[in-house]
Amino acid sequence: MFSKALFKQSCKANGWMWGIITFAICFMLACVMCISGSGNVGEVAVGVEDTIIEDEIDAQINKRALSYYGNTTDGLEQFDEFYLVNFNADTETVGSYSAEVDAWLASQPQAGDYTTTAEYVLALDTWKSSFPEPEELVEQAYALSISTWLENVPVVADYTSVEEYQTAVLSWSQQKPTVYEAAAASAYKESVDQLTQYIYVKAEAIDPSYTQDSNEAQEMLGSVMFSLNPQNVFDSAYADCSEAIPADYDVQNIILNDVQGNGEGYISSDERVEYRRDRAANSSAIFLGYNMTKDENVNLMLDALSSYGVTEEKYDSFNYTYVNVNHMASTKIVAYQAELDYEISCIDENYANGEYLDEAAYQQAIAEKSEELSAELTDSLLASLPSDVSDALEEVGKMDLYSIIVGSVYFKMAGLLLPFIYIIMASNNLIAGQVDSGSMAYVLSTSTKRSKVVRTQALYLILSLVAMVLCTTITSIICLNVVTVPLSDLNVSKLILINLGSLFVMFAVSGINFLTSCWFDRSKKSMSIGGGITMFFLVATMLGLFGSKVIPSIVRFDALNYFNYLSIITLFDTISIIDGTNTYIWKFAILLAIGICGYMIGSLRFEKKDLPL
């Protein structure tokens, strides 16, 4: 059946190569398993995840900054408009009221008209109680300031001389509250209320669930109010951030311009728009930084991120401090505004050239542009890729990198290269090389049948591969016991199956190479065809890996997956083995069949062909 002498000869001829290659692959395997198992592997996945998370948070911050900014500029503009209207209305209201008050003041009883002090006091009381009743808010404000003013009337007894007293009375009378002051104060108050309502309506328009009490509506309101800072309510917040407390929101200029009859023009003037933008940019960045670093918000964020393995420590390492967030936000806002200005100037130019049909189309173009810009500036890595954020993150987080490196990268690719080289060289040496050189003549001239020769050589090749895989199996089991890899599905039985799989691949490939070796008389041909096919399979597998399922979907090249259909190594289904499914079994059967066919056809051909010996 087999020729012992030939088997020995083949062992002697190929033994060295076998030994060196077996040692090399065992050594490589040990290195791969021990080094990648020593803890670095998990961190790779975490690193990828962190990058994505950080990018995502950055994008959120930028988005927030722009939306605060947009909301605030809009809010301030509304406020200006409200204020102007309120101020005018209040001035009118308070104007007629002040006339009543003036009349009332004029009707103050004089001491000289009464004979007795008692009469005078009585008249005075009556007069005081006849103070015109204030109805409107602005009237109340005016009445309050008038009464305060009246209480501060100088008393003769306080002054040493008549002149002094007269001077005091004069200055006192000059301090008489004007209607404008009252109107200004009340208009401010009313406008704040209106603005609050406006924001609530706006919030609900964005999303019906953003009701008055919702966090979203409160946040929107907050961002505007933070900028407006009515009655200095946010001074402490500004101080907390060690930022300068901004000057009170400027209504003075509105009043001044309004009195001059240019209120409308002023609030839409470039100067005023610039003022509002600066204020909004400043306050939005501060507000965002303040919010992002508030303990309760940080805790909320940590809660949300904890499912992706982000600990407080790690979050700290991302370094979202107040200064950083503030800087990031203000940079983004400046960039946004600058780009928007530029785009709008372009649109304006086009508008001037009559490119837009009407005002509406022009406004729409501006709105579209600003939306597009803000989307562009707030793009995150994940948002710009098609798959779902959480899905992708989850996938990366759950990736069993150790199994991928050992199974798909080592056993399916790197670890196959050297055995393939052995297979190509050995199968060529066993038949074609000996026919080509002529040394086969010595074997055949010793009454050894061709069938016996080919069987013996096939047996040698197969047994040498089995021995090789036996060595890698032992090595890999030892290595798996030496290293402890957390979060890996790899165990001894799966490892044995993977080794067995690599044996099946080698068997199939050796069958193909044995066939070409038997088929061709020239080792050149046998090697280039058999070896070429073999190397093609390996290269296709390498390329295919980048399109295979083991690569997370966000960095996978789906087109490269087609290479997997071109390689028989794909039938070595490491994923199925590691996942514990059964699909690998029929694939093994195909590999086995390919190998058997190769050996059978090769043997038949060798027995029948002419040998140039």
Binding site: Q9, K12, Q434, G438, S439, T446, S447, L613
Partner: protein, 298 residues
């Protein structure tokens, strides 16, 4: 009885390459030479004999067995020295010879050792670094070690130095004396003329002629070339009635063919002539085959 027989053997490789309609019979104990130029088909014929290739038509037999179908059986009887010496991928000559012995299931190495000694071969040398001669010797030992009945040698002396060649041929002759049947191919006529009993001449895949060496060596007539000193002698000699085959008047030379028995008569005649020189023109195998090809062409 013939031990090797080629029966209308043809192996056509296309483009008029190969061997065509070969018929040779080699008797037991005979030493057959096989001569032809490079590429004339010697090796193809031998491959057929060894059963390495399947004939296109015709058959060849060794010991009555058809060689293609019984390659493994006939190879037991044949010691084969291939033309191109390429050894298996082994370290030393000893390794190789031991391996061959194992293939042949040969237990007793005494004969092999004897051969090694005769050939002054150092088999422990590295196979790859062996000189051509050493390789040839090693191959010969491998072929002879199981004392086969038939020995087939494909151009065994090519590339050997003259001394080594003599040594080599003497061993082959010795085997012949022991009663072995030998087929030796060569492209050198002298070599086969010296050693073989019979010689087949192959040209372009066709066997042109098969000659008994005895016929060449013991031809009934001889050729002589004679040069005379004077023109008158030359003229006179032409009239003596000998079988003149070539005349060269310019040099006063004649070449004549004369039966062995008449040589005495020639010398008697020449006694009266002033002969400048006389020499026998040897009839060689080469000449014979040249004539044979010429007559075939005609």
């Amino acid at each position: 009885m013939e031990i090797i027989k080629l029966d209308h053997l043809s192996k056509d490789y296309g483009n008029a390459r190969g061997v065509f309609d070969e018929n040779i019979e080699i008797k037991k104990g005979e030493m057959m030479g096989f001569v032809g130029t490079n590429g004339s088909g010697k090796t193809t014929t031998i491959r057929n004999l060894m059963g390495f290739i399947c004939p296109t038509s015709g058959k060849c037999y060794v010991n009555g067995l058809e060689t293609w179908k019984n390659a493994s059986k006939i190879s037991k009887m044949i010691g084969y020295v291939p033309g191109e010496i390429a050894f298996p991928d082994l370290k030393t000559g000893t390794d190789f010879l031991k391996g061959q012995a194992e293939f042949l299931k040969l237990k007793d190495m005494s004969y092999a050792n004897e051969l090694i000694e005769r050939l002054q071969l150092d088999p422990s040398a590295n196979l790859k670094r062996m000189s051509k001669g050493m390789k040839q010797k090693t191959a010969l030992v491998a072929a002879l070690m199981n004392d086969p009945e038939i020995i087939i040698l494909d151009e065994p002396t090519t590339g050997l130095d003259p001394l080594m060649r003599v040594e080599f041929l003497s061993i082959i002759k010795e085997q012949h004396k022991k009663g072995k049947t030998i087929l030796m191919s060569s492209h050198m006529f002298e070599e086969v003329e010296e050693t073989c009993d019979r010689v087949a001449f192959i040209s372009d895949g066709h066997i042109v002629d098969v000659v008994d060496i005895d016929e060449i060596k013991h031809r009934p007539s001889r050729d002589f070339k004679i040069e005379f000193v004077t023109k008158s002698d030359y003229q006179k000699f032409l009239g003596q009635g000998f079988n003149i085959i070539r005349k060269q008047e310019k040099y006063n030379q004649v070449t004549l063919n004369i039966p062995k028995l008449d040589i005495g008569k020639l010398f008697k005649v020449l006694k009266d002539y002033d002969v400048k020189y006389i020499s026998e023109v040897k009839y060689t195998l080469e000449k014979h085959f040249k004539n044979a090809i010429q007559s075939k062409v005609k």
